[in-house]
């Protein structure tokens, strides 16, 4: 039973991050490869401050500010660059932050990570963690679904389809994209706030390139922009990821098999959804 609670907790902890990224990459069609950079920076900010001050309030507030600043920075940069240039830059920012975390060991403890992260207040048992994560994921999904059905969703979709036409119709590009990046940033923050206290460790290897690939995979497999689809894909793929070690293959086999399996899944879903991931502009 505990294993089922664990799977539920892991799946639901990942959910806000996946749904948030879906707003930028799936709905907004912005080639953003830096969501893990926001996760990493805000996670270290929160838990290093928590260790230093012992106050959840100060730590979470600082994490919110950090995530918001980085999100706005990404939104601003995305205005200045060609989409593929922004994709490469956001990836470089992510890897640059990983490099700083790994090398600034006097503050971050480098590759050792930050151990003994305390549990969230009152969330001390596994069922409580799973139930809290489920509640947060559902509330976050509900909020995004509500936004998706409002003017925000329509305007973001219009910008994704034809930026100039949407701007000509009065859609403020910077404001919309800023909101999309902020939603992605706060989604990542919600996941971080639960993940490190759950495993009691903040480790840079959880924020590497594979973590980005997982997010891309959830969004593409679920259908870019489709909230329910992305939620379902997250459930299935995180469950697959978590249960793969049950095969009890040697460690030297399971890692490469996981890479091949997830690479193949990613390729197959792109192949099936190729015309819809970055659709051609409609014309009369």
């Amino acid at each position: 039973m505990n294993y089922l609670w664990h799977i539920l907790a892991v799946v639901m902890i990942q959910m806000p991050s996946a749904l948030g990224y879906n707003v930028v990459f799936g709905k907004g069609k912005i080639l953003h490869f830096g969501p893990i950079a926001t996760s990493l920076a805000s996670a270290y900010l929160i838990f290093l401050l928590l260790k230093a001050t012992g106050s959840w309030g100060i730590a979470v507030a600082a994490g919110c500010v950090g995530a918001a600043l980085l999100s706005v920075l990404f939104a601003w940069i995305s205005q200045r660059l060609e989409p593929d240039g922004f994709g490469v830059l956001s990836l470089a920012v992510h890897l640059g932050i990983v490099s700083i975390v790994l090398n600034w060991s006097s503050v971050t403890r480098g590759a050792l990570g930050v151990p003994q992260i305390p549990s969230l207040p009152l969330i001390t048992s596994l069922p409580r963690v799973a139930l809290l994560a489920t509640g947060v994921a559902m509330a976050w999904g509900g909020l995004l679904f509500w936004l998706h059905r409002r003017a925000f969703g329509r305007q973001l979709a219009a910008l994704a389809e034809h930026e100039w036409h949407a701007s000509a119709l009065g859609v403020n590009r910077f404001r919309m994209q800023c909101a999309a990046f902020l939603l992605a940033g706060f989604g990542a923050l919600l996941s971080n706030l639960q993940f490190a206290p759950y495993i009691h460790l903040l480790h840079p290897s959880d924020y590497g390139f594979p973590a980005l690939i997982n997010l891309v995979l959830y969004v593409i497999a679920g259908g870019p922009g489709n909230i329910l689809g992305v939620a379902l894909a997250t459930v299935l793929l995180v469950t697959l990821h978590t249960t793969l070690p049950l095969l009890q293959w040697p460690a030297g086999i399971i890692g490469p098999v996981r890479l091949i399996l997830f690479g193949t899944i990613l390729f197959v879903v792109i192949w099936l959804r190729a015309p819809r991931i970055f659709p051609q502009r409609r014309s009369v």
Partner: protein
Amino acid sequence: MSQLVLNALIAGSLAALIAGGLALVYGVMGIFNMALGQMALFGGYMTWWFRVSLGQSLPVSILLGLCCGALLSWLTFRVFVEPFVRYHRWLPIVTTIAWGMILDGLILLLFQERPASILPGLESPVRILGGQLTMSQITLILATLSLLAIFAVILHATAYGRRIRAVVQHPHAAMSLGIHALRLRQMLFIASGTLAAAGGIFIGIDQNLTPTLAFPLTIKAYAAVIAGGRGSLYGAILCAYVIALLEQLLVGVTWFGAYTIPAGYQSAVALFLIIGFLLVRPHGIFGSPLRTA
């Protein structure tokens, strides 16, 4: 200091080999091949396999390794790039990420994580310009420069090169003049993959091949291409050497007589260069805007 410059020459030659082909592919097709590092490693590992496991001579192993690299590039183009680029030119970024994951897994399964060296054993170094280089390093530097020179001659002194430059400069105008763009793109992609495989062989001879090298190789090549300017072969090659020199100087010099930078930051030089160039000069040092009628 002279040893740092010689080290930069070695690292720069490797990066130039990979970035040179990539610069033309990016210039002609406008796509990012995120599996480039894995393609380089595949060429290196296949050469190692022919040499160490099958006992072939070094020239035969290198030739077979390059052929494997070319074959893999053709497969990558036909399966992971060409069918998707017609939908959107960003799609190959994601498909090649998927292919890179599959290749990473295959390399780990087939060759495992332990370091593999094509020429095991220590060589006695030769003293040059106050620094030290081994004979194989000198050969590799000269081979890289010769290969890039051949590439440059093809680009500037043959009809084939004129077609490539025409497609880089204005694809639609070139196609309207009867240039078979698809065939040209395929050939360029294979040439780029073969140069990357040569880079992998370079690593296998000079150092050790390990599966974790793939992604840093890709990032370094892109840093050179972005800094050099879209489609600029010489810009990419020059910037590959500059990045290598910066990497060596960053961690090899005592700054202001008192400060040293941890060696871990060496790999971040390319990343910060990408960020800096994209923010300040997105078209790179030698990039020029597209000509229009």
